[in-house]
Symmetry: C2
Amino acid sequence: MEKQHANRLYQQIKGDILDNRLPVATALKQTELSTRYEVSRIPIRDVLTRLKNEGWLADCGKRGVMIPALSATEAEDLYLMRMYLEPLILNHGIPKINNQILGQAQDILEQIDQSKNSNIHQQGELNWQFHACIYQAAERPTLFNTIASLHQQCSRYIGYHSLELDYLETSQQEHYQLLTAIKNKQITKAKQILKAHISEAGEILVSHLLQKMQF
Amino acid sequence: MEKQHANRLYQQIKGDILDNRLPVATALKQTELSTRYEVSRIPIRDVLTRLKNEGWLADCGKRGVMIPALSATEAEDLYLMRMYLEPLILNHGIPKINNQILGQAQDILEQIDQSKNSNIHQQGELNWQFHACIYQAAERPTLFNTIASLHQQCSRYIGYHSLELDYLETSQQEHYQLLTAIKNKQITKAKQILKAHISEAGEILVSHLLQKMQF
DNA sequence: AAAATTAAAAATGTATACATTTTATAACCT
DNA sequence: AGGTTATAAAATGTATACATTTTTAATTTT
């Protein structure tokens, strides 16, 4: 693996953004980051452009980048798009789903069941793996990549769902219902469940964000 | 302007891809491009990652990038996504559209009318400006950026529509109908027109691509 | 004293040089 | 001879050095 160093740096900076170890709404300078992470500015630049594309950073005027504040409108847009696009790819995927994929999806759900006390971001990653596992069956790379990018952007917001105490449980129930509908080739029902699943998550998220912004 | 050089290089390489001055389905090497365009590999790398994000280039195995062949499936996915997302942003935009924006949109349409004999890519750019002009009124940057990215990816395929001789004319008729519906605040009608407009363009494109691939 | 202009400092973009990884070539073994 | 390992060549990633641009601060002007 050649890009191991670069990837580690990427993970490190992303983690530092997530856990508030880097200042929000402040211009981040390549030079600062370069000394902070003890690498030259070249790999820093690479990581910054990648993180900008993924929504973790935004341009800050003409020069430099900053960590954008969480935005209820952004969250709403992301979930709105997912609400429309994910049923679309599910529609293409269901006819091609075989038992191997179903088994894999079930495995992931069981992993989520056993992750109740683990890291919130690991749960988020497992959640994406479940969705991705099903969507990949559609063999629609362009559609898939856009959806993957939306999930990536959503991951900044993960942690707000969990404020709803029983959200993980509700979410898992919907996952199992979805899997059953897929197993039975009930395309319309599966799409409905999925759309409601995303819509619900979006609403919880947005309401928590709005609540937070009032204080 | 600081990034003028970088931007010129970006435009130049993109143009060379578009006009087949660079080999298709072949690994492009940074070193080669570096000597070809007479700059160091650093700005080349920047442009390559940008073009990869925009769909003009794709990873080629573990190392290097290549110009991906046009794909009917990709085109279908892009237009499918646009079909669902653009009516969405239009829905948010219509209530906020004022006469200034309507005037601006009309100006762009008249420019398109006068561009019948001009460059196909200029026509494509004007087409995007018309859509963008309306969508920006929605003030939904996240949704807007995703749609903009889809248009960007679609621009690789522009030129196939024009094989349909009277396509520009049909397309313009739909643009004017859309603008009228927006002016009259007929939200549902406007959304229908827009969806049909995109769907039609997608179908023409895909059918031409499929036709081409049979030979 | 406030605004504007100019000069200095800091930050980014780019070139060159070096390190590491990948790919291609050739030698070797069974 | 075919396949495998070792070696050389080429390509990419990264560090350092330099050029350009932007920002800051200070001086000047009204």
